[in-house]
Amino acid sequence: MPLRLLKYALSKEYKETRFFRENVTPKKSYDAVIIGGGGHGLAAAYYLAKDHGMTDIAVLEKGYLGGGNTGRNTTIVRSNYLTPEGVNFYDASVKIYEGLSEELDINLFYSTRGHFTLAHTESAMRTMRWRAEVNKHVGVDSYVVGPDEISKACPQLDISCSGHAPILGALYHGPGSVARHDAVAWGYARGADRLGVDIFQSTEVTGIDIKGGKVQGVQTSRGYISTPRVLSAVAGFTPRICKMAGIDTPIVIHPLQACVTEPMKPWLDSILVSGSLHVYVSQSSRGELVMGSSLDPYEVHSTRSSLDFVEGLTSHMLDMFPFLSNVKIVRQWGGMADMTPDFSPIMGKTPVEGFYLDAGWGTWGFKATPISGKTMAATIANDMAPDLIKPFRLSRFEEYELTGEKGAASVGH
């Protein structure tokens, strides 16, 4: 990186090279086709090429790269989950994230902040203690702290929450971080592109060709592509893609909204989450408070945002930080969250041979981007899911073996 800076310093022209090739026409066939050019799909393409030597891959994106939930989340990375299966999986993701800027040669603004999940009730404290013990058992840095320690880390926080919901304690998670989400998608896209993966934007999949229970190819807005392997990594569009493949899933789509304030001088170091007040907040590297709340209460396939959401969220923010009353909200948006009944993802093989699913990422997908890419790449290359993601298989529902993570969802959705 410094060498490249020096080159630009000495050069009269400042032409930055493109991040990835602008492909227009797909080839007639590929070894694998990945539907969805978000973080997960691009990471899977990158690791297929890098770890497994499979470079004859097309990534098809209906819109633009990282324009879906990759660019719509609140960028929090953490591994303080409730089940050992979940903690192990997300911890592996945090570990890749920590070295990812270096690996992808792009500044992800990965910033380890420390993450407090605030508890306002005795029952919430019980869940925090439970999560802390599971985390410690698996070797993840999480422990329960009292109000004094929270005040020390964040003196601006009104511990009584305006008297409505006094904070009794919190689950503290040291590795909790934020990162620049678009850069994750761009970094993986460039990495995959350099290894020979073809990326197509504005390319919609309109059908999946299956014969004798085996994938033959995909129909797209740029013509038919024949391929024996298809990965669906499309978050909120999963039910539509699965319908094309004739696969039933428990996934239901609910909008999840978020917003940011105007930029301020840095004052909030930690990431704060309150389940009872339905708020999660962190301050971005450019000074905005990035805030999210719970899911919209009913199924809609839309990314519209609403006034109800901002009113509800800000009233709770003011319980926590009364001094923010003059701060303005400058942007709000929504994404389509593909929710599962047990708040765990659905990853791995499906009843259709050659059709792989990376879905059910609901409100917890961004943090899992690197590890889901790596494990889905392994699943596709070996036609077998690694042990790490077996608890997330689609068949767990008909086997009545759920992986219940609702207690570790950032807010009570």
């Binding site: 999963t238 039910p239 539509r240 699965c242 319908k243 039933d248 899933t249 428990p250 996934i251 239901v252 789509i253 209460p297 009913y298 199924e299 809609v300 396939h301 839309s302 109800d308 593909d338 009944p341 529902f397 008909e398 086997e399 009545y400």
Partner: protein, 86 residues
């Protein structure tokens, strides 16, 4: 403010209502474990015009809404009993 029509109480703000999920038929008690799992977990998640349970909380009224989950337009609402009687 979004509005929804309760078949008993007329047009009311959406905040008075609770979403109860899609209206689906329960399989027979003798069905296989697989059929039961399909009923318990699997959903028709793709967008489209669906029949859904909605609940008007202040009056305790359960009713059915026909709603397009892509556009969020409600085609009509009615009491389940009314339709069943036809």
């Amino acid at each position: 403010m979004k509005l929804l029509t309760c078949p008993i109480n007329g047009v009311r703000p959406l905040s008075e209502f609770v979403f109860g999920g899609e209206l689906r038929d329960m399989p027979e008690a003798e069905c296989s474990d697989k059929e039961w799992a399909d009923y318990v977990y699997n959903r028709n998640g793709a967008p489209g015009l669906k029949k859904e349970w909605w609940y008007h909380s202040p009056s305790g009224t359960w009713f059915v809404a026909e709603r397009d989950t892509l556009t969020d337009n409600v085609a009509r609402t009615y009491l389940y009993e009314q339709e069943a009687a036809k």
